[in-house]
Amino acid sequence: MISALPRSEFPLLAASPRLAYLDSAATTQKPRAVLDAICDFYENDNANPHRGAYALSVRATERYHEARARVAAFLGVGDPDCLIFTRGTTESLNLVASSWGRANVGAGDEIVVTGAEHHANFVPWQQLAIEKNARLRICELAPDGALDLDRLRALLGSRTKVVAFAHVSNVLGTIAPVRDIVELAHRVGAIAVCDGAQAAPHLTVRFDELGVDFFAASGHKMLGPMGIGVLVGRRRLLEAMPPFLTGGDMIEFVEDDHSTWNRLPHKFEAGTPNAAGAVGMAAAAAVLEGVGMDAVRAHERELVRSAYRRLSAIEGVRIYGPGPADRSGVLSFNVGDVHPHDLATILDSHHVCIRAGHHCAQPLMRRLGVSATARASFYVYNDDADIDALVNGVMAAREMFSRVGA
Protein backbone atom coordinates (compact mmCIF):
# COMPACT_ATOMS: atom_id res chain seq x y z
CA MET A 1 0.00 0.00 0.00
CA ILE A 2 1.66 3.19 -1.14
CA SER A 3 0.30 6.52 0.00
CA ALA A 4 -2.68 8.06 -1.80
CA LEU A 5 -0.80 11.34 -2.00
CA PRO A 6 3.01 11.39 -2.14
CA ARG A 7 4.82 12.47 1.00
CA SER A 8 6.75 14.88 -1.17
CA GLU A 9 3.66 17.07 -1.35
CA PHE A 10 3.78 17.51 2.43
CA PRO A 11 6.79 19.63 3.39
CA LEU A 12 6.94 18.33 6.95
CA LEU A 13 6.85 14.69 5.89
CA ALA A 14 9.26 15.29 3.04
CA ALA A 15 11.76 16.78 5.50
CA SER A 16 11.52 13.77 7.83
CA PRO A 17 11.47 10.73 5.60
CA ARG A 18 11.42 8.30 8.50
CA LEU A 19 8.61 9.94 10.43
CA ALA A 20 5.51 7.73 10.71
CA TYR A 21 2.83 10.31 11.43
CA LEU A 22 -0.13 8.35 12.76
CA ASP A 23 -2.04 11.08 14.58
CA SER A 24 -4.13 12.54 11.80
CA ALA A 25 -7.30 12.21 13.84
CA ALA A 26 -5.81 14.95 16.05
CA THR A 27 -4.62 17.09 13.17
CA THR A 28 -3.38 16.38 9.66
CA GLN A 29 -0.21 17.46 7.93
CA LYS A 30 -0.58 20.19 5.31
CA PRO A 31 0.18 19.82 1.63
CA ARG A 32 2.21 22.45 -0.15
CA ALA A 33 -0.92 23.42 -2.14
CA VAL A 34 -2.68 24.53 1.04
CA LEU A 35 0.25 26.61 2.28
CA ASP A 36 0.57 28.14 -1.18
CA ALA A 37 -3.12 29.07 -1.25
CA ILE A 38 -2.85 30.81 2.11
CA CYS A 39 0.24 32.75 1.06
CA ASP A 40 -1.29 33.54 -2.32
CA PHE A 41 -4.26 35.13 -0.59
CA TYR A 42 -2.05 37.28 1.61
CA GLU A 43 0.33 38.15 -1.21
CA ASN A 44 -2.26 39.06 -3.82
CA ASP A 45 -5.74 39.56 -2.43
CA ASN A 46 -5.46 40.49 1.22
CA ALA A 47 -8.04 42.99 2.47
CA ASN A 48 -10.98 42.90 4.83
CA PRO A 49 -13.81 41.21 2.91
CA HIS A 50 -17.28 42.75 2.72
CA ARG A 51 -16.15 46.13 3.93
CA GLY A 52 -14.12 47.79 1.26
CA ALA A 53 -15.06 49.90 -1.69
CA TYR A 54 -11.94 49.17 -3.67
CA ALA A 55 -10.85 46.47 -6.05
CA LEU A 56 -8.51 44.73 -3.62
CA SER A 57 -11.29 44.32 -1.10
CA VAL A 58 -13.60 43.05 -3.81
CA ARG A 59 -11.01 40.43 -4.67
CA ALA A 60 -10.75 39.43 -1.02
CA THR A 61 -14.53 39.16 -0.86
CA GLU A 62 -14.61 37.04 -4.00
CA ARG A 63 -11.91 34.71 -2.74
CA TYR A 64 -13.80 34.27 0.51
CA HIS A 65 -17.03 33.70 -1.38
CA GLU A 66 -15.39 31.16 -3.71
CA ALA A 67 -13.94 29.36 -0.71
CA ARG A 68 -17.42 29.02 0.76
CA ALA A 69 -18.80 27.68 -2.50
CA ARG A 70 -15.93 25.21 -2.79
CA VAL A 71 -16.25 23.83 0.72
CA ALA A 72 -20.04 23.70 0.32
CA ALA A 73 -19.65 21.65 -2.85
CA PHE A 74 -17.17 19.36 -1.11
CA LEU A 75 -19.67 18.68 1.68
CA GLY A 76 -22.66 18.33 -0.63
CA VAL A 77 -24.32 21.54 0.53
CA GLY A 78 -26.57 22.91 -2.20
CA ASP A 79 -27.15 26.25 -0.50
CA PRO A 80 -23.72 27.73 0.35
CA ASP A 81 -25.32 30.49 2.43
CA CYS A 82 -26.14 27.78 4.96
CA LEU A 83 -22.44 27.06 5.43
CA ILE A 84 -21.05 29.19 8.26
CA PHE A 85 -17.31 29.53 8.66
CA THR A 86 -16.30 29.03 12.29
CA ARG A 87 -13.00 28.39 14.03
CA GLY A 88 -13.61 24.67 14.03
CA THR A 89 -15.91 21.85 15.07
CA THR A 90 -15.85 22.90 18.71
CA GLU A 91 -17.09 26.39 17.96
CA SER A 92 -19.65 25.02 15.49
CA LEU A 93 -21.18 22.69 18.06
CA ASN A 94 -21.12 25.39 20.74
CA LEU A 95 -22.91 27.66 18.28
CA VAL A 96 -25.73 25.16 17.90
CA ALA A 97 -25.95 24.36 21.61
CA SER A 98 -25.90 28.03 22.56
CA SER A 99 -27.97 29.64 19.84
CA TRP A 100 -30.46 26.94 18.89
CA GLY A 101 -30.26 25.22 22.25
CA ARG A 102 -30.91 28.19 24.52
CA ALA A 103 -33.86 29.18 22.34
CA ASN A 104 -35.41 25.73 22.07
CA VAL A 105 -34.53 23.58 25.07
CA GLY A 106 -36.38 24.12 28.32
CA ALA A 107 -36.84 22.55 31.73
CA GLY A 108 -37.73 18.88 31.51
CA ASP A 109 -36.68 18.57 27.90
CA GLU A 110 -34.22 15.90 26.93
CA ILE A 111 -30.98 15.98 24.99
CA VAL A 112 -29.63 12.68 23.76
CA VAL A 113 -25.95 12.07 23.07
CA THR A 114 -24.07 8.81 22.71
CA GLY A 115 -21.52 7.32 25.05
CA ALA A 116 -18.82 7.76 22.42
CA GLU A 117 -18.90 11.52 21.94
CA HIS A 118 -15.89 13.77 21.81
CA HIS A 119 -16.03 16.39 24.59
CA ALA A 120 -16.88 18.96 21.91
CA ASN A 121 -20.18 17.19 21.30
CA PHE A 122 -20.79 16.27 24.92
CA VAL A 123 -19.88 19.10 27.27
CA PRO A 124 -21.85 21.85 25.43
CA TRP A 125 -24.99 19.70 25.67
CA GLN A 126 -24.28 18.74 29.27
CA GLN A 127 -23.86 22.41 30.20
CA LEU A 128 -26.99 23.39 28.27
CA ALA A 129 -28.92 20.71 30.17
CA ILE A 130 -27.58 22.01 33.49
CA GLU A 131 -28.42 25.62 32.59
CA LYS A 132 -31.92 24.80 31.38
CA ASN A 133 -32.81 22.10 33.87
CA ALA A 134 -33.10 19.73 30.99
CA ARG A 135 -31.97 16.13 31.05
CA LEU A 136 -28.89 14.80 29.29
CA ARG A 137 -29.43 11.20 28.29
CA ILE A 138 -26.52 9.11 27.17
CA CYS A 139 -27.19 6.34 24.69
CA GLU A 140 -25.02 3.41 25.70
CA LEU A 141 -23.11 1.64 22.95
CA ALA A 142 -23.41 -1.86 21.59
CA PRO A 143 -20.75 -4.28 22.89
CA ASP A 144 -18.52 -3.67 19.85
CA GLY A 145 -18.72 0.09 20.37
CA ALA A 146 -21.21 0.69 17.58
CA LEU A 147 -24.19 2.93 18.03
CA ASP A 148 -27.12 0.83 19.27
CA LEU A 149 -30.21 1.88 17.30
CA ASP A 150 -32.59 -0.10 19.50
CA ARG A 151 -31.30 1.60 22.61
CA LEU A 152 -31.52 4.94 20.85
CA ARG A 153 -35.10 4.30 19.79
CA ALA A 154 -36.02 3.40 23.35
CA LEU A 155 -34.43 6.59 24.69
CA LEU A 156 -36.24 8.98 22.38
CA GLY A 157 -39.59 10.47 23.23
CA SER A 158 -41.74 13.53 23.04
CA ARG A 159 -39.41 15.46 25.35
CA THR A 160 -36.37 14.81 23.16
CA LYS A 161 -35.24 18.02 21.52
CA VAL A 162 -31.78 17.11 20.27
CA VAL A 163 -29.98 13.97 19.17
CA ALA A 164 -26.26 14.72 18.94
CA PHE A 165 -23.84 12.14 17.63
CA ALA A 166 -20.49 11.74 15.91
CA HIS A 167 -20.62 10.66 12.30
CA VAL A 168 -17.31 8.87 12.89
CA SER A 169 -15.91 8.21 16.36
CA ASN A 170 -12.44 9.64 16.94
CA VAL A 171 -11.60 6.76 19.29
CA LEU A 172 -13.25 3.68 17.85
CA GLY A 173 -13.49 4.64 14.20
CA THR A 174 -17.11 3.47 14.18
CA ILE A 175 -19.27 4.97 11.45
CA ALA A 176 -22.75 5.98 12.60
CA PRO A 177 -25.87 4.97 10.63
CA VAL A 178 -26.68 8.62 10.05
CA ARG A 179 -29.91 8.27 8.11
CA ASP A 180 -31.39 5.87 10.66
CA ILE A 181 -30.53 8.21 13.51
CA VAL A 182 -32.01 11.17 11.65
CA GLU A 183 -35.20 9.26 11.04
CA LEU A 184 -35.55 8.36 14.71
CA ALA A 185 -34.81 11.92 15.78
CA HIS A 186 -37.21 13.51 13.33
CA ARG A 187 -39.94 11.05 14.20
CA VAL A 188 -40.07 12.50 17.73
CA GLY A 189 -39.57 16.06 16.49
CA ALA A 190 -35.96 16.38 17.65
CA ILE A 191 -33.16 17.88 15.59
CA ALA A 192 -30.19 15.74 14.59
CA VAL A 193 -26.79 17.31 15.20
CA CYS A 194 -23.91 15.56 13.51
CA ASP A 195 -20.31 16.01 14.66
CA GLY A 196 -18.55 15.50 11.34
CA ALA A 197 -15.00 16.29 12.51
CA GLN A 198 -13.83 12.76 11.64
CA ALA A 199 -16.23 12.26 8.74
CA ALA A 200 -15.45 15.19 6.46
CA PRO A 201 -11.78 14.20 6.09
CA HIS A 202 -12.43 10.53 5.47
CA LEU A 203 -15.83 9.90 3.88
CA THR A 204 -17.88 11.34 1.06
CA VAL A 205 -20.23 13.71 2.87
CA ARG A 206 -23.41 14.90 1.14
CA PHE A 207 -25.07 17.15 3.67
CA ASP A 208 -28.25 17.56 1.65
CA GLU A 209 -28.74 13.80 1.48
CA LEU A 210 -27.77 12.94 5.05
CA GLY A 211 -30.85 14.65 6.43
CA VAL A 212 -29.11 15.97 9.54
CA ASP A 213 -30.08 19.42 10.73
CA PHE A 214 -26.57 20.54 11.63
CA PHE A 215 -23.17 19.28 10.57
CA ALA A 216 -19.83 20.47 11.98
CA ALA A 217 -16.27 19.96 10.71
CA SER A 218 -12.72 21.32 11.13
CA GLY A 219 -10.32 22.38 8.39
CA HIS A 220 -7.20 21.22 10.20
CA LYS A 221 -8.36 17.61 10.23
CA MET A 222 -8.76 17.51 6.44
CA LEU A 223 -5.40 18.89 5.25
CA GLY A 224 -6.48 22.49 5.87
CA PRO A 225 -5.15 25.14 8.23
CA MET A 226 -5.90 25.53 11.92
CA GLY A 227 -8.42 28.12 13.03
CA ILE A 228 -11.08 27.42 10.42
CA GLY A 229 -14.04 25.08 10.28
CA VAL A 230 -17.66 25.02 9.33
CA LEU A 231 -21.15 24.66 10.62
CA VAL A 232 -23.73 23.67 8.03
CA GLY A 233 -27.36 23.97 8.97
CA ARG A 234 -30.84 23.87 7.52
CA ARG A 235 -31.87 27.32 6.32
CA ARG A 236 -35.16 27.24 8.17
CA LEU A 237 -33.42 26.60 11.48
CA LEU A 238 -30.58 29.04 10.90
CA GLU A 239 -32.99 31.79 9.97
CA ALA A 240 -35.12 31.23 13.06
CA MET A 241 -32.17 31.09 15.46
CA PRO A 242 -30.84 34.11 17.31
CA PRO A 243 -27.26 35.00 16.43
CA PHE A 244 -24.35 33.50 18.36
CA LEU A 245 -21.63 36.15 18.49
CA THR A 246 -22.54 39.76 17.73
CA GLY A 247 -20.51 42.59 16.26
CA GLY A 248 -19.41 43.74 12.83
CA ASP A 249 -20.62 42.15 9.58
CA MET A 250 -23.43 40.18 11.22
CA ILE A 251 -25.70 43.17 11.78
CA GLU A 252 -28.13 44.93 9.52
CA PHE A 253 -28.99 47.99 11.58
CA VAL A 254 -27.70 48.92 15.01
CA GLU A 255 -30.02 51.27 16.84
CA ASP A 256 -29.24 52.50 20.32
CA ASP A 257 -31.63 50.05 21.93
CA HIS A 258 -31.86 47.15 19.54
CA SER A 259 -30.31 45.66 16.43
CA THR A 260 -31.38 43.65 13.41
CA TRP A 261 -29.35 40.95 11.76
CA ASN A 262 -27.77 40.47 8.39
CA ARG A 263 -28.88 37.61 6.16
CA LEU A 264 -27.23 34.19 6.06
CA PRO A 265 -24.39 33.32 6.26
CA HIS A 266 -23.27 36.67 7.68
CA LYS A 267 -25.67 36.58 10.62
CA PHE A 268 -23.46 33.91 12.18
CA GLU A 269 -20.09 35.33 11.16
CA ALA A 270 -19.40 38.21 13.52
CA GLY A 271 -16.21 40.18 13.02
CA THR A 272 -13.51 40.05 10.41
CA PRO A 273 -13.73 36.62 8.82
CA ASN A 274 -10.73 34.34 8.58
CA ALA A 275 -10.70 34.63 4.80
CA ALA A 276 -7.20 33.22 4.42
CA GLY A 277 -8.22 30.24 6.53
CA ALA A 278 -11.31 29.67 4.40
CA VAL A 279 -9.19 29.86 1.25
CA GLY A 280 -6.82 27.32 2.80
CA MET A 281 -9.68 24.99 3.72
CA ALA A 282 -11.06 25.26 0.19
CA ALA A 283 -7.62 24.39 -1.21
CA ALA A 284 -7.57 21.35 1.07
CA ALA A 285 -11.00 20.30 -0.21
CA ALA A 286 -9.67 20.64 -3.75
CA VAL A 287 -6.69 18.42 -2.93
CA LEU A 288 -9.01 15.78 -1.48
CA GLU A 289 -11.31 16.02 -4.48
CA GLY A 290 -8.24 15.54 -6.65
CA VAL A 291 -7.57 12.22 -4.93
CA GLY A 292 -11.27 11.41 -4.80
CA MET A 293 -13.00 10.68 -1.52
CA ASP A 294 -13.66 7.12 -2.61
CA ALA A 295 -9.96 6.63 -3.11
CA VAL A 296 -9.23 8.26 0.23
CA ARG A 297 -11.63 5.87 1.92
CA ALA A 298 -10.34 2.84 0.05
CA HIS A 299 -6.77 3.73 0.94
CA GLU A 300 -7.58 4.03 4.64
CA ARG A 301 -9.56 0.84 4.57
CA GLU A 302 -6.52 -1.02 3.25
CA LEU A 303 -4.23 0.54 5.82
CA VAL A 304 -6.53 -0.12 8.71
CA ARG A 305 -7.15 -3.69 7.60
CA SER A 306 -3.44 -4.35 7.48
CA ALA A 307 -2.68 -2.58 10.75
CA TYR A 308 -5.56 -4.36 12.46
CA ARG A 309 -4.40 -7.74 11.29
CA ARG A 310 -0.77 -7.22 12.18
CA LEU A 311 -1.37 -5.55 15.55
CA SER A 312 -3.90 -8.10 16.71
CA ALA A 313 -1.39 -10.84 15.92
CA ILE A 314 0.90 -9.43 18.62
CA GLU A 315 0.38 -11.07 22.00
CA GLY A 316 -1.28 -8.85 24.54
CA VAL A 317 -2.61 -6.33 22.02
CA ARG A 318 -6.24 -5.44 22.49
CA ILE A 319 -8.02 -3.33 19.86
CA TYR A 320 -11.17 -1.46 20.87
CA GLY A 321 -14.23 -1.19 18.67
CA PRO A 322 -15.47 -3.05 15.62
CA GLY A 323 -13.55 -5.15 13.11
CA PRO A 324 -11.50 -3.50 10.38
CA ALA A 325 -14.20 -3.62 7.71
CA ASP A 326 -16.60 -1.36 9.55
CA ARG A 327 -14.32 1.39 10.69
CA SER A 328 -12.72 4.55 9.53
CA GLY A 329 -8.95 4.94 9.71
CA VAL A 330 -8.63 4.97 13.48
CA LEU A 331 -7.34 2.20 15.74
CA SER A 332 -7.44 2.46 19.52
CA PHE A 333 -5.62 -0.26 21.35
CA ASN A 334 -3.65 -1.30 24.39
CA VAL A 335 -0.61 -3.55 24.69
CA GLY A 336 -0.69 -5.77 27.74
CA ASP A 337 0.19 -3.78 30.82
CA VAL A 338 2.30 -1.30 28.86
CA HIS A 339 0.61 1.94 29.71
CA PRO A 340 -0.42 3.97 26.61
CA HIS A 341 1.80 6.87 27.65
CA ASP A 342 4.80 4.64 27.95
CA LEU A 343 3.92 3.07 24.64
CA ALA A 344 3.67 6.47 22.96
CA THR A 345 7.05 7.50 24.37
CA ILE A 346 8.67 4.32 23.14
CA LEU A 347 7.00 4.58 19.72
CA ASP A 348 8.11 8.20 19.50
CA SER A 349 11.68 7.04 19.94
CA HIS A 350 11.01 4.86 16.88
CA HIS A 351 9.76 7.94 14.95
CA VAL A 352 6.17 6.80 15.24
CA CYS A 353 3.66 9.48 16.27
CA ILE A 354 0.59 8.08 17.97
CA ARG A 355 -1.62 9.57 20.58
CA ALA A 356 -2.16 8.26 24.10
CA GLY A 357 -4.77 9.35 26.58
CA HIS A 358 -8.48 9.83 26.77
CA HIS A 359 -8.73 11.42 23.30
CA CYS A 360 -11.14 14.04 24.61
CA ALA A 361 -13.63 11.27 25.27
CA GLN A 362 -13.60 10.61 29.02
CA PRO A 363 -17.20 9.31 29.04
CA LEU A 364 -16.17 6.69 26.49
CA MET A 365 -13.04 5.75 28.44
CA ARG A 366 -15.23 5.04 31.47
CA ARG A 367 -17.44 2.87 29.33
CA LEU A 368 -14.46 0.98 27.94
CA GLY A 369 -13.23 0.56 31.51
CA VAL A 370 -9.84 2.10 30.81
CA SER A 371 -8.24 5.39 31.74
CA ALA A 372 -6.47 5.73 28.44
CA THR A 373 -5.77 4.03 25.15
CA ALA A 374 -3.13 4.28 22.47
CA ARG A 375 -4.49 5.48 19.14
CA ALA A 376 -3.07 5.26 15.65
CA SER A 377 -4.91 7.07 12.89
CA PHE A 378 -4.27 7.01 9.17
CA TYR A 379 -4.57 9.40 6.29
CA VAL A 380 -3.71 9.94 2.64
CA TYR A 381 0.04 10.22 3.18
CA ASN A 382 0.42 7.00 5.15
CA ASP A 383 1.76 3.82 3.64
CA ASP A 384 2.95 0.34 4.55
CA ALA A 385 6.22 1.68 5.88
CA ASP A 386 4.27 3.57 8.54
CA ILE A 387 2.51 0.38 9.60
CA ASP A 388 5.82 -1.48 9.67
CA ALA A 389 7.19 1.19 11.98
CA LEU A 390 4.12 1.00 14.19
CA VAL A 391 4.22 -2.78 14.45
CA ASN A 392 7.94 -2.85 15.10
CA GLY A 393 7.61 -0.20 17.74
CA VAL A 394 4.83 -2.02 19.50
CA MET A 395 6.87 -5.21 19.52
CA ALA A 396 9.87 -3.36 20.87
CA ALA A 397 7.75 -1.91 23.68
CA ARG A 398 6.40 -5.31 24.55
CA GLU A 399 9.89 -6.74 24.69
CA MET A 400 11.19 -3.88 26.75
CA PHE A 401 8.47 -4.39 29.31
CA SER A 402 8.77 -8.16 29.29
CA ARG A 403 12.34 -7.97 30.60
CA VAL A 404 10.75 -7.77 34.03
CA GLY A 405 8.02 -10.25 34.88
CA ALA A 406 4.78 -9.18 36.44
Partner: protein, 159 residues
Protein backbone atom coordinates in the same frame (compact mmCIF):
# COMPACT_ATOMS: atom_id res chain seq x y z
CA UNK B 1 12.16 27.68 16.14
CA UNK B 2 14.11 24.96 17.87
CA UNK B 3 15.42 22.17 15.70
CA UNK B 4 15.21 19.05 17.84
CA UNK B 5 17.42 16.20 16.80
CA UNK B 6 14.70 14.18 15.13
CA UNK B 7 13.61 16.81 12.63
CA UNK B 8 16.04 15.54 10.09
CA UNK B 9 16.76 11.88 10.50
CA UNK B 10 20.31 11.06 11.35
CA UNK B 11 21.92 9.72 8.19
CA UNK B 12 23.17 6.46 9.62
CA UNK B 13 20.37 5.48 11.90
CA UNK B 14 21.99 6.47 15.17
CA UNK B 15 19.27 7.87 17.26
CA UNK B 16 19.84 9.54 20.55
CA UNK B 17 16.19 9.72 21.56
CA UNK B 18 15.80 5.98 21.24
CA UNK B 19 18.75 5.29 23.51
CA UNK B 20 17.45 7.78 26.08
CA UNK B 21 14.12 6.07 26.13
CA UNK B 22 15.74 2.66 26.42
CA UNK B 23 17.84 3.95 29.29
CA UNK B 24 14.74 5.24 31.02
CA UNK B 25 12.76 2.05 30.81
CA UNK B 26 15.43 0.12 32.66
CA UNK B 27 14.75 -2.90 34.80
CA UNK B 28 14.76 -0.95 38.06
CA UNK B 29 11.89 1.22 36.93
CA UNK B 30 9.91 -1.61 35.40
CA UNK B 31 10.42 -3.57 38.60
CA UNK B 32 8.92 -0.74 40.65
CA UNK B 33 6.07 -0.51 38.12
CA UNK B 34 5.31 -4.20 38.32
CA UNK B 35 5.97 -4.60 42.03
CA UNK B 36 5.31 -1.23 43.58
CA UNK B 37 6.57 -0.75 47.14
CA UNK B 38 4.24 0.83 49.70
CA UNK B 39 1.22 0.15 47.64
CA UNK B 40 -1.90 -0.10 49.74
CA UNK B 41 -3.77 1.83 52.41
CA UNK B 42 -3.31 2.70 56.05
CA UNK B 43 -5.89 2.15 58.75
CA UNK B 44 -5.43 5.47 60.51
CA UNK B 45 -3.65 7.94 58.27
CA UNK B 46 -2.83 11.40 59.60
CA UNK B 47 -3.10 12.80 56.12
CA UNK B 48 -4.95 11.39 53.12
CA UNK B 49 -4.86 13.06 49.74
CA UNK B 50 -5.93 12.39 46.16
CA UNK B 51 -4.26 13.99 43.19
CA UNK B 52 -5.10 13.61 39.53
CA UNK B 53 -3.44 14.45 36.30
CA UNK B 54 -6.30 15.29 33.96
CA UNK B 55 -4.05 15.20 30.90
CA UNK B 56 -3.27 11.48 31.26
CA UNK B 57 -6.01 10.39 33.59
CA UNK B 58 -3.42 9.32 36.17
CA UNK B 59 -4.62 9.26 39.78
CA UNK B 60 -2.80 8.82 43.06
CA UNK B 61 -4.29 8.30 46.51
CA UNK B 62 -1.82 8.94 49.29
CA UNK B 63 -1.99 8.12 52.97
CA UNK B 64 0.62 9.26 55.48
CA UNK B 65 1.28 8.59 59.14
CA UNK B 66 3.62 10.74 61.19
CA UNK B 67 5.57 10.25 64.35
CA UNK B 68 5.99 13.80 65.55
CA UNK B 69 7.89 15.36 62.70
CA UNK B 70 8.91 12.07 61.14
CA UNK B 71 7.11 10.42 58.27
CA UNK B 72 6.56 7.01 59.79
CA UNK B 73 4.43 5.33 57.16
CA UNK B 74 3.22 6.14 53.67
CA UNK B 75 1.08 4.17 51.28
CA UNK B 76 -0.36 4.87 47.87
CA UNK B 77 -2.85 3.43 45.46
CA UNK B 78 -3.69 4.68 42.01
CA UNK B 79 -3.26 4.12 38.39
CA UNK B 80 -0.84 5.32 35.83
CA UNK B 81 2.05 4.70 33.56
CA UNK B 82 5.33 3.05 34.47
CA UNK B 83 6.93 6.39 35.17
CA UNK B 84 4.26 7.67 37.51
CA UNK B 85 3.97 4.35 39.33
CA UNK B 86 7.70 3.82 39.65
CA UNK B 87 8.08 7.39 40.89
CA UNK B 88 5.42 6.83 43.54
CA UNK B 89 6.99 3.57 44.60
CA UNK B 90 10.55 4.89 44.79
CA UNK B 91 9.60 8.20 46.36
CA UNK B 92 7.58 6.65 49.16
CA UNK B 93 10.46 4.29 49.81
CA UNK B 94 12.95 7.10 49.93
CA UNK B 95 10.90 9.37 52.18
CA UNK B 96 9.85 6.90 54.80
CA UNK B 97 11.54 7.64 58.10
CA UNK B 98 12.64 11.12 57.06
CA UNK B 99 11.74 14.34 58.83
CA UNK B 100 9.29 16.57 57.01
CA UNK B 101 12.12 19.01 56.28
CA UNK B 102 14.38 16.31 54.85
CA UNK B 103 11.50 14.90 52.86
CA UNK B 104 10.60 18.28 51.43
CA UNK B 105 14.20 18.79 50.41
CA UNK B 106 14.30 15.48 48.59
CA UNK B 107 11.04 16.24 46.81
CA UNK B 108 12.34 19.61 45.76
CA UNK B 109 15.55 18.10 44.45
CA UNK B 110 13.59 15.42 42.63
CA UNK B 111 11.38 18.01 40.93
CA UNK B 112 14.43 19.97 39.86
CA UNK B 113 16.01 16.82 38.46
CA UNK B 114 12.85 16.11 36.47
CA UNK B 115 12.89 19.63 35.12
CA UNK B 116 16.43 19.01 33.92
CA UNK B 117 18.30 21.25 36.35
CA UNK B 118 21.96 20.40 36.16
CA UNK B 119 23.47 18.97 39.32
CA UNK B 120 20.11 18.41 40.96
CA UNK B 121 20.44 14.65 40.90
CA UNK B 122 22.78 14.12 43.85
CA UNK B 123 23.27 11.20 46.23
CA UNK B 124 20.30 12.16 48.38
CA UNK B 125 18.00 10.97 45.60
CA UNK B 126 19.41 7.44 45.62
CA UNK B 127 17.60 5.15 43.19
CA UNK B 128 15.34 8.00 42.11
CA UNK B 129 18.15 9.07 39.82
CA UNK B 130 17.01 6.28 37.54
CA UNK B 131 14.21 8.66 36.58
CA UNK B 132 16.55 11.47 35.53
CA UNK B 133 16.03 10.58 31.86
CA UNK B 134 12.48 11.93 32.11
CA UNK B 135 13.92 15.41 32.01
CA UNK B 136 14.40 15.01 28.27
CA UNK B 137 10.72 14.12 27.78
CA UNK B 138 8.80 17.25 28.77
CA UNK B 139 5.49 15.64 27.99
CA UNK B 140 6.18 13.03 30.68
CA UNK B 141 7.11 15.49 33.42
CA UNK B 142 3.57 15.46 34.84
CA UNK B 143 3.76 11.65 35.10
CA UNK B 144 7.00 11.80 37.04
CA UNK B 145 5.79 14.64 39.24
CA UNK B 146 2.31 13.44 40.15
CA UNK B 147 3.46 11.53 43.24
CA UNK B 148 6.04 14.11 44.31
CA UNK B 149 3.55 16.96 44.00
CA UNK B 150 1.03 14.97 46.01
CA UNK B 151 3.62 14.12 48.65
CA UNK B 152 4.75 17.74 48.91
CA UNK B 153 1.17 18.83 49.38
CA UNK B 154 0.55 16.15 52.00
CA UNK B 155 3.69 17.10 53.91
CA UNK B 156 2.77 20.76 53.80
CA UNK B 157 -0.65 20.01 55.20
CA UNK B 158 0.92 18.20 58.16
CA UNK B 159 3.21 21.03 59.18
Amino acid sequence: MSAPDDRKDAPNGTDSRRSHVEALYQELILDHYRRPRNRGTLEHPDVALRKKNPLCGDVIDLQLQFDGDTLREVRFTGEGCAISQAAASMLTQRLKGKSTAEAAQILDRFARMVHGEEGAADESLGDLRALSGVSRLPVRHPCALLASDALAEALASHR
